[in-house]
Symmetry: C2
DNA sequence: GGCTTAATTCTAAATTTTTCGAAATAGAGC
DNA sequence: GCTCTATTTCGAAAAATTTAGAATTAAGCC
């Protein structure tokens, strides 16, 4: 079990919760400067302590970054990490093992 | 909390485990006809009952499909589901909210 | 039917995750 | 320093996940 698989699994696990996935999508679609934790809290309608725990999970996984702006903390998506993660998921889907394929694998064209 | 977010979270959670992620990558990179459970077992070096549980998790999430071939069961990736999942993760990353942006968001260009 | 191989389901114990109220920390303004 | 707002950390209970041995099901073959 390589280090990369462990890391990717940790990141996917962090995304594998409705609240945390909503948070990530909010920051992905939100402003580049980041979204205040308080705004996420009202948007998701959950207790602050619960939100904070989920934000820490995403942060530890490296999927979001945080920056202080006065008394508010702004969370933003780590696009590079997210891109590397999705690429890892699809890696080598077209090689199809040892021999070169005559027709493209289903993951490359339609499906 | 929409249905889609729940579904995507379930799929990501299914991927959020080193063994299950390894399984998915094996079947993504494996032959179109699917990979036998037994081959996955020797490759991952874990008890059959444990493997079977993980395969069921991936299957329930819709990420893999199974087909019987004699006494062996072949698992293959559901590429369409996997593609929809990764697209969901990135959805609207370039729109950046209500107003059209003057410059492309970091997720669209470099980063 | 009986035997063998492939894989799953059953069962249960250990561990981890999730949740949130209460308390603590951090910065801004008076 | 005091106070207010924003957010996190502490602590602890409930729920879900992970693991794997033992028993079971399924298919092929003599």
């Amino acid at each position: 079990m390589t280090r990369r698989v462990e890391q990717a699994a940790e990141q996917l696990k962090a995304l594998g919760h409705p609240v945390r996935l909503s948070i990530l999508r909010s920051v992905v679609q939100g402003p580049e400067a980041g979204t205040p934790a308080g705004e996420l809290q009202t948007r998701l309608a959950i207790p602050g302590s619960t939100l904070s725990h989920h934000l820490a999970t995403l942060s530890v996984a490296g999927l979001v970054a945080v920056a202080r702006d006065g008394t508010t903390l702004r969370y933003r998506a780590e696009f590079g990490v997210l891109r590397a993660l999705t690429e890892y998921l699809w890696q080598d889907c077209c090689s199809g093992g040892v021999a070169p394929e005559t027709k493209p694998a289903p993951c490359c064209g339609g499906d």
